[in-house]
Amino acid sequence: MAVADTTPVRPRASVLRQLLRSTSVIIGGLIVGAMVIIGALAPWLDTRDPAEVNPSVRNKLPGFTATIRDDDGNKVPVTYRFGTDSLGRDIYSRVVYGARVSLIVGLTVSLISIVIGLLIGLIAGYVRWLDGILMRFMDGLMAIPAILLAIGLVSVFRAGLFAVVVAIVVPEVPRVVRLVRSIVLSIREEPYVESAITVGTPTPLLIFRHVLPNTIAPLIVQGTFICAAAILIEAILSFLGIGIPPEIPTWGNIMAEGRTLFRVFPQNILYPGIFLAVTVLGVNMLGDGLRDVLDPKMERRG
């Protein structure tokens, strides 16, 4: 039998190369990378102890220089680049250290939400009798606005990093579940999955081999958006004074502290605000770029 099918077929450009061609991915990646470095190297970026209170230098403007006794009793000049807050803490140091909390919250929340959401989503997509119950429960969770659910949850636990992470994870999980479930439901209709069924591939292997790989790209994209949302919600909770305890330097806490005097010292809100906005922007741009390349059909939901 002759092979007459010689239609030329173009190979797909590699995903990595496409990613490196995307401006969003590059700019977003650079911003996120810079924030990670700032957070990781915080102690070596000419910072002071961010919790150190010094009543003699309260409410100073950016660039104020004071002479301070160090641990050995020597007098050294100290420049407060971003000024000080009403307790005399160094805003610059607090902002730099604040990157740590934001990134840790963003990363842990997105990882935990995705793992839990993936599991529940797979169960809902494959165990038909559980689907109804699970999805009604998820609908209920989704009906409570995310920030209110988080506020409600932090009011129940003692304030702290753990409580904040849990409080942000709970509202995000149903969204991941919905995403995974919808992917599962559409992929199981694909002829290649049905072919795998007819060649006798057992269900667990079927999910692992044919269904799971289809969830990776959307989940990476969703993960970055969750990360951005988590950083924002953590900042909001801290800003409202119900998140992470005020002595820990987070961008939200610095801004909360700066609220009372912000007409005189707007920089106490401005500096952490810029860091926060730029970080979230970076993560969002990364997510946008990843979506355009990996998962063009998806759109961000509200």
Partner: protein, 550 residues
């Protein structure tokens, strides 16, 4: 080139050296290249070609509807009633569209705005091009709707598109296209998405309108049956170029170009060859199979019961091909999916090698799964894009305990058998064409050494030349492995050529069932009659007189 004017005077449409450029990234520089032909007043010209031939691009270029930024007119001229169209301003072009030339499309389901009443959509043309009052518009819309034989126009004028059948929607499209009596109607595969009986009605309507109004028709199609049915002259296109132009009889009976000869030869004849009845062992026995869907209920709206298949009984013997033929919604695919146990039948028996698998649980079913394999319609979705072709083929045998090495060795042999290179196993599906993928899907099915192969519209998405090859391959493997084949199709030509016996389904019920030749020559049931009568080009014999050249 044949640029002769049509039957009466100046041609309505003249294309002269028309070229459309593709974006630079592609492997071709032009979607169409130097296309010249004409359409006379009151003449039906069919442009026929396989996918990628540029036939639809030609139509879009004439209408000035080339997708912005992707395709650009790069040369040649288009003259409508002698007037150059390529140099028109957008406003001048808009004034021509809908009034002097109009167009109908392939998908009547999506070509109408779903949120606007059909009367308003026909009237839109009048709103744009005339200054008639609302009252006058409505009357004119009613007239044109009646003239395309839409029923009960007084109430249908206020219906929404989703309340109409596919055929009715295409009639609405035709009404909107013809309401201002244009000199040129471009029909881009207008019946491809329709069932065969509806297709026959729409073809009849287009011919009637053309005869009555003297409209020139440029009819784009891939289907030689349709060409034989409707064309006066035919333009054959391949890879963006015109291959041959001639009258219908010239092209179908005495094609000159080798490509046209190959195409015509690939068209399956409606006359079934004589076949000896098979008396081998029964591989598949379907008895009283029913599948009922119940949707809706208390919270989800009105309860609906759909009887997708009712009391279906079909036998397939080893080495035999049994076709299930029917229009959309007839239940033919439901039967196939029940047999493959992709869905659970509501009632009845499915005996495979004597064992009833209709009600087996998944774990008990698994050993039986290898006996039944299926090839799907869409070659682009039937292979996992992330896995190599080899991994897809050996998946089944490995599930049943064969070692990867053994399975791969067999897979190499199977690739040769289906006409592909064995080293293709390491490649990914996107590196293959549609026809090649269908070959791979067949190899995957054969790797399981099944008793029954289900082909669910397996050649319907393929171009006619590729279709002929895949059909030959299917017939070849049936014979070689003594396979029972259950062949699901809507295409009577294909069914006539490949099936030993045929079951005709309508609305979930098998209305008639018998040996292919008998059914074609002496159908008993009224629906079978109607179905066969509707097959386009049934009066024309394909491939006559070209046997010698191949």
């Amino acid at each position: 080139m044949d640029g002769a004017p049509g039957p009466s005077g100046t041609p309505v449409l003249e294309l002269d050296g028309l070229s459309v450029a593709l974006p630079k990234t592609g492997d071709r520089t032009h979607a169409i290249d130097g296309v010249s032909f004409s359409v006379g007043r009151g003449e039906i010209v069919c442009v026929v070609g396989e996918s990628g031939s540029g036939k639809s691009v030609t139509a879009q270029a004439v209408m000035g509807l080339l997708p912005k930024g992707q395709l650009t007119l790069s040369g040649g001229s288009i003259r409508l009633e002698g007037k150059e169209v390529t140099t028109c301003t957008p406003a001048e072009l808009r004034a021509l569209r809908g009034a002097r030339m109009s167009m109908i499309f392939q998908e009547p389901m999506t070509a109408l705005n779903p949120v606007e009443r059909v009367g308003a959509q026909i009237g839109e043309v009048l709103e744009i091009h005339t200054s008639l009052s609302a009252e006058e518009r409505r009357n004119k819309v009613l007239d044109v709707m009646a003239s395309v034989h839409l029923p009960d126009v007084a109430s249908m004028i206020d219906a929404f598109p989703h309340q109409l059948s596919g055929g009715q929607r295409q009639r609405v499209m035709i009404a909107a296209a013809l309401v201002l009596d244009p000199v040129l109607l471009i029909a881009d595969e207008p019946t491809t998405a329709l069932d065969v009986t509806t297709q026959a009605q729409i073809l009849k309507l287009i011919a009637e309108m053309q005869a009555r109004r003297g409209t020139g028709v440029l009819f784009i199609t891939h289907d030689f049956g349709v060409v034989a049915e409707i064309a006066q002259r035919v333009v054959v296109m391949q890879h963006g170029k015109v291959v041959e132009i001639g009258t219908r009889d010239e092209i179908i009976s005495r094609p000159k170009a080798a490509y046209t000869q190959m195409l015509i030869k690939s068209v399956p004849s409606l006359e079934p060859p004589s076949r000896t009845p098979k008396t081998s062992a029964v591989a598949l026995a379907i008895e009283g199979l029913s599948k009922t869907y119940v949707s809706g209920g208390f919270l989800a709206g009105k309860k609906r019961v759909v009887k997708a298949a009712q009391n279906v009984s079909i036998e397939v013997r080893r080495g035999e091909t049994v076709g299930i033929v029917g229009e959309s919604g007839s239940g033919k695919t439901t039967v196939a999916r029940c047999v493959a146990r992709l869905i659970d039948p509501t009632d009845g028996e499915i005996k495979i090698g004597g064992v009833d698998v209709a009600r087996l649980r998944e774990s008990a079913l698994r050993p039986h799964r290898k006996h039944v394999q299926i090839v799907f319609q869409d070659p682009y979705r039937s292979l996992n894009p992330r896995r190599t072709v080899g991994a897809s083929i050996i998946e089944g045998p490995v599930n049943f305990g064969e070692s990867t090495a053994d399975a791969t060795r067999r897979a190499r042999d199977l690739m040769t058998l289906v006409g592909l290179q064995p080293d293709a196993l390491e490649r990914f599906p996107h590196q293959f064409s549609g026809g090649q993928r269908q070959r791979i899907a067949i190899a995957r099915a054969l790797a399981m050494e099944p008793r029954l192969l289900i082909a669910d519209e397996a050649v319907s998405a393929l171009d006619v030349s590729v279709q002929a090859q895949v059909l030959a391959l299917l017939d070849d493997v049936r014979e070689r492995f003594d396979l029972a084949v259950l062949f699901i199709t809507h295409d009577l030509r294909v069914a006539a050529q490949i099936c030993d016996r045929i079951a005709v389904m309508q609305n979930g019920v098998v209305v008639e069932h018998g040996p292919t030749a008998e059914l074609f020559s002496n159908a008993q049931h009224a629906y079978t009659h109607a179905l066969f009568a509707a097959a386009p080009g049934r009066g024309v014999k394909f491939g006559a007189g070209i046997e010698a050249t191949t």
